[in-house]
């Protein structure tokens, strides 16, 4: 087995992204929002295409029309549920309506995450090799119900364990060809990391916040790895608190002094920062990675996640 250093870089520019955003805005506006799935496909395509691992770019092969079908299904589903809740509320059944809504959200969010992961990773290609998400939706649902319940019962404390269990489940089920990701972050460590970050941020009047961010990023990256048989690739963060301070302060200034117009540049430079601060090394021979994952075309989960505005969680 040979020891390798791998490279991961972002090659996009703020200017190109700005143009894409403008074109997307024009088309989304004149189609009264219906263009949204195509706009999203273009943005994702741009970000994937400019993220290069070992000289080969990632590719997002999802299309606007696939996501449009999901968009319509998600729209109809959510409109009918919200319609029912509003109907019940107007007929003096607020409690029934509200509990119905919460139960619906409790079920739909994990299912949307599941659908979103399946679609997004089936459409992610690197070097001709498809990614894939292997998780089981019922297992994920049980995990979320248990997590939500215990988080409420412990007035939020269990949230840290819930977040890590969720992250572990999702990441451990991601494959690229015949290599598999794994994550070993646990609730206890994550909880104390946040307690420490929170308290020190207060005592230092917010200055420690940037070091807290550094710790969170490192906790995510350092616990992630990719394995293929007996070969592994390890990830490590080399960003310092000072680096985060510089990144966030410059972003803030850019944003304020351009009235938000610099947003595309801010996104691009943050992306560069995050990727440039990951060190990847190990023994995986990526040239031998094999195609094993199936294609998957249903984007409904992806679109529900968009409507509920929780984006793509890791």
């Amino acid at each position: 087995m040979e020891y390798n250093k791998y490279s991961l870089v972002f090659k996009g520019s703020g200017f190109e992204y700005f143009k894409i955003l403008l074109v997307n805005m024009i088309l989304t506006t004149i189609t009264l929002g219906l263009y949204y799935p195509w706009a999203k496909a273009r943005t994702l395509h741009y970000f994937y295409g400019n993220t290069v691992f070992n000289e080969q770019p990632f590719i997002f092969t999802g299309t606007g029309s696939q996501m449009f079908k999901g968009f319509i299904k998600a729209f109809l589903l959510l409109v009918s549920v919200y319609g029912l809740v509003i109907y019940l509320t107007l007929n003096e059944q607020e409690l029934v309506g509200l509990s119905l809504l919460y139960i619906f959200l409790l079920f739909i969010i994990p299912l949307a995450i599941h659908g979103s992961y399946r679609y997004r990773f089936a459409k992610t290609i690197w070097s001709g090799i498809r990614f894939g998400y292997m998780g089981n939706k019922w297992e994920l649902l049980m995990l979320c119900i248990k997590g939500t319940f215990l988080t409420i019962v412990t007035i939020g404390i269990y949230g840290a364990w819930f977040a890590m269990n969720l992250r572990r489940y999702l990441l451990c089920n991601i494959k690229v060809g015949d290599a598999r990701f794994s994550y070993k972050g646990v609730g206890g460590e994550y909880f104390w990391l946040n307690v420490k970050g929170y308290l020190l941020s207060i005592f230092t009047f917010g200055i420690y916040f940037f070091w807290w961010q550094k710790d969170l990023f490192a906790y995510f990256i350092n616990n992630l790895r990719l394995t293929k048989g007996d070969q592994t690739m390890l990830l490590k963060s080399r960003a310092t608190g000072g680096d985060f301070l510089a990144l966030i302060m410059v972003n803030l200034l850019l944003f304020v002094f351009t009235l938000g117009l610099a947003t595309p540049w801010i996104v691009v430079r943050s992306m560069r920062f995050l990727l440039a601060n990951m060190v990847l090394d190990g023994t995986i021979a990526f040239n031998e990675l094999r195609q094993t994952q199936e294609n998957f075309d249903d984007a409904t989960g992806e679109d529900i996640a968009d409507f509920l505005d929780f984006g793509f969680i890791i």
Partner: protein, 357 residues
């Protein structure tokens, strides 16, 4: 064949690149695996319509199927790169594609024009539809609820309320809304209308007024707010703004919404100045209808001016109510045609007035 080029080929079975030879013509791309072209061996053919091209850094990638599992890559500097790019540029005739080729300033201009259009559209359609959809009876119902909650913690002068109600009944105020009056004990010189028909008058303003005409003018002004549904209009306007901010602008960035909200604040001020002016005018029409000289409105203004703290002229632009002087001038102009008309005194109003005082 001299136009055969060497490229990296990815076969979608295993990740690493394989050496391949490629040539292209008007229809598509032909590829053969290996380092030497063999006329006997299989040639894979990919028509352009299923292919896509992408540049990342200084490399070009041609995806040979929609799944992007098969592709070739080569340097942007390769002598055939421009030719091949040309073939794909001809293929992309979509509207989005032509937009992407435009320069950034034209795009920015288009976005600004479109957003202005959307802004105008929403801020016109929402209030229009709202006024159509919400019936006066619904407004009265909702207004009554508002009134109930506003009256909590206020002391009502029941005796004066009754008298004032009689005063209003002897006037023709509104055909659509049941006008209901309430006198609240409060030193402030103020009165306001609640949508749907309620008018709240502070005892302070009653004390300040010197004649029944002034009171009639006040009721005329407040009734005009109710008849012309001014509150509903401004609620609908803020709803429209909220909609614009959340739907269109939230996706761009937070700071835009701050800018819009501030601009909207200034516009609202302007709007409410317009509303006060129109309520003065409609109020004077009500006075004329009730056989009261419209100059009573002017006297009411003067009374308000006497009782309000001085405000420097320069701030009048910032005030939500138009500067009283401006309103006095306006009332004066309105009254010009009635200069020589005579208005008979109204004994009923006069007697209630005396009782109120």
């Amino acid at each position: 064949m001299d136009n055969i080029q060497q490229v990296d080929f990815f076969d979608g079975l295993q990740a690493g690149p394989k050496l391949a030879l490629m040539y292209f013509n008007a229809e598509g791309i032909s590829i053969q695996l290996g380092a030497y072209w063999d006329k006997e061996a299989t040639v894979l053919f990919f028509p352009y319509k299923q292919c896509n091209i992408q540049q990342t850094g200084n490399k070009l990638f041609v995806f040979l199927n929609k799944n992007a599992t098969n592709y070739i890559s080569f340097s942007v500097d390769a002598n055939f790169a421009d030719d091949l790019k040309q073939k794909f540029n001809q293929k992309d005739q979509s509207f989005a594609g032509s937009l992407l080729k435009m320069n950034v300033f034209s795009l920015l201009l288009m976005v600004v024009v479109l957003l202005a259009g959307v802004y105008w559209g929403i801020s016109t359609i929402v209030p229009w539809a709202g006024l159509k959809l919400i019936k006066p009876s619904t407004e009265t119902e909702l207004g009554e609820k508002m009134y109930q909650s506003m009256m909590q913690g206020e002391t009502i002068d029941h005796h004066k309320t009754k008298l004032l109600q009689e005063f209003a009944r002897s006037m023709q105020l509104s055909k659509t809304y049941p006008i209901k009056l309430t006198v609240v004990i409060n030193k402030e010189v103020n009165a306001y209308a609640i949508p749907g028909g309620n008018i709240v008058v502070y005892s302070g303003i009653l004390k300040a007024m010197k004649s029944p005409d002034e009171l009639a003018a006040l009721l005329g002004h407040e009734t005009a707010h109710i008849n012309d549904r001014h509150s509903l209009r401004s609620i609908l306007r803020s709803a429209a703004t909220g909609l614009i901010v959340s739907v269109v602008l939230n996706d761009i960035s937070g700071i835009f919404s701050i800018v819009v909200e501030n601009a909207e604040g200034l516009r609202t001020m302007h709007f409410s100045r317009g509303i006060e002016k129109s309520a003065d005018e409609e109020g004077m029409k009500i006075l004329v209808k009730n056989n009261i000289h419209p100059l009573a409105m002017k006297r009411l203004m003067e009374r308000l001016k006497e009782n309000s703290p001085e405000m420097p002229e320069i701030l009048s632009f910032m005030q939500s109510h138009p500067a009283t002087d401006e309103r006095i001038k306006h009332a004066n102009e309105f009254a010009v045609p009635y200069k020589n008309s005579s208005f008979a005194p109204n004994p009923v109003l006069d007697s209630i007035w005396t009782a109120l005082k």
